[in-house]
């Protein structure tokens, strides 16, 4: 009890003694765990390699500079592919996540069983990284842009689906009740009371995922799924560090661009 009586006065403290002890125990325990982990990690580390790191890094960067500016001409097409992978992948994910989220949200699902299936799809999609999806898809449908689009799309379903259905579950109930009371059909209730409430957040999430997908699309090429990653992989394998430097610069500019676009779009929505 946080309230104690001493003589005729009542003392109030946030926690009682037992809770305070438990909290302290928790802190001490956490500190010990961190300490032990540190010990294990440091035991498994070759410290001479770490000491060497700044030198290695400067050598590495030195090999990339100056970048081979002429290589840029060969990068336009892969760059275009990368943007397409990201954009079409996002659209694919959006197309599937949109209906899926209504099946997964507690307040709009037609049946609990349907809800569990929808949630399962979302979890599976989320638990596999784009790069792994790409690896699988390259094996299934062969290397190229298509595999990249599907990889990005499959990963996006889970991300968007989860955020979508959460925002559906957060909608206020009153408009739903009011529209239902007019004698509207279930589909009309969705389109008139739920959809207007979630549309801004759906748009924000989609553009945010597109922004993330631009970054992911630069990587899926490493396993053969098209885009600028293919060039990156080839250049690293050929030890063409000046080309790698050039690719990094291009990726950096593209990511900046996508950041800017998504910031502008989000501003426009809100």
């Amino acid at each position: 009890m946080p309230v104690r009586q001493i003589d005729d006065r009542k003392l109030w403290q946030r926690y009682d003694t037992a809770t305070r002890l438990r909290l302290w125990g928790g802190w001490i325990g956490t500190t010990l765990v961190v300490f032990v982990c540190w010990q294990v990690i440091s035991g498994a580390t070759r410290w001479e390699f770490v000491a060497d790191a700044p030198q290695q890094l400067s050598q590495f960067i030195g090999r990339m500079f100056p970048p081979r500016w002429g290589y840029l001409n060969e990068l336009w097409l892969p760059l275009w592919d990368t943007l397409n992978i990201a954009t079409l992948g996002t659209l694919l994910g959006l197309g599937i996540a949109f209906p899926l989220s209504f099946l997964a949200a507690q307040n709009t699902t037609p049946h609990p069983l349907v809800r569990y299936v929808a949630l399962l799809i979302i979890v599976v999609s989320r638990s596999v990284n784009s790069l792994i999806w790409a690896l699988l898809l390259v094996a299934i449908i062969g290397p190229g842009v298509l595999a990249g689009i599907f990889a990005i799309g499959l990963r996006s379903i889970g991300f968007m689906g989860k955020l979508f259905y959460e925002s559906i579950e957060e909608t206020s109930r009153e408009p739903v009740e009011a529209i239902t009371a007019t004698g509207a059909s279930p589909l009309q209730v969705l389109s008139y009371s739920i959809l207007p409430q979630v549309l801004p957040s759906f748009a924000g999430v989609s553009i945010f995922r597109w922004d993330i997908n631009i970054r992911e699309a630069t990587v899926v090429g490493l396993v053969g799924a098209g885009g600028i990653g293919l060039n990156l992989n080839a250049s690293v394998n050929a030890l063409q560090w000046s080309q790698v430097g050039m690719i990094f610069i291009v990726i950096f500019v593209v990511v900046l661009f996508s950041e800017w676009v998504s910031a502008r779009v989000r501003q426009a929505i809100i």
């Binding site: 009153e174 408009p175 009740e177 009011a178 529209i179 239902t180 009371a181 007019t182 004698g183 509207a184 059909s185 589909l187 009309q188 389109s191 008139y192 009371s193 207007p196 409430q197 549309l199 801004p200």
Partner: protein
Amino acid sequence: MLRLQHVSKRYPTGNQALKEINLTVPEGQVVALIGPSGAGKSTLIRCVNRLVEPSEGQIWLRDTEITRLSTRGLRHIRRRIGMIFQEYALVERLSVMENVLSGRLGYVNFWQSWLRRYPQADVDNAFQLLERVGLLDFVDQRADALSGGQRQRVGIARALLQDPDLLLVDEPTASLDPKTSRQIMRLITELAQERGLAVVINIHDVPLAQMYAQRIVGLRAGSVVYDGPPEGLTTAQLTTIYGEEDWDRNRQADPADEDAVLAMVAQDAGQPRPAL
């Protein structure tokens, strides 16, 4: 018009919200449902259009037994029952016109509503109603740009565009200031009279209920404990409905009468304040 027979509602939590309610509301009558919070007022009016499923009993609207209808039949009958809410329950991001037209959703098919292609007759009626509630200049505004009183007017227009036989009104003034409350109550009762609608209003404000309703029904713990004219609501009756309280002190004067209010204030000021 509206007939409730032995209506009971027990929630899954075991809470008995309504016990054996019998109530008949004739055409054109305005009934105010009063009672303490948790007495079952909201549950009662939601049972009528089955936003809440009654556990037992029958509810009739004219010759239709609402409680026996299938999903489709229920949607049909809901078109005949307009509903007005405490927090207005508008769709905030839609325009005033879209909100009002949503009263016609039961009459148009999905694509008409999705593409906002309502029959011209509906649009004509919507304009007429918006003029009647004084919001003609706000047609294209988004609902979240309006004040509380204006939003409730949109809610009223939406309910009336359904062309209902019965209006269910849930605490229409609980979020409004006293002046707006009166305006809204007057608007609802006037419009109901013009169209000969039966109205059931849940309301906390007893003087307001007495002012605008022709009949008062008092609920306590899910049972009707008073059913009669507004004048019949005595101190003893209020105690039955709400429990013990010094009812007469606030009822010395009719607050509508400004002189009386001033007199009351003067009288209050004249009395020595009790020491803290």
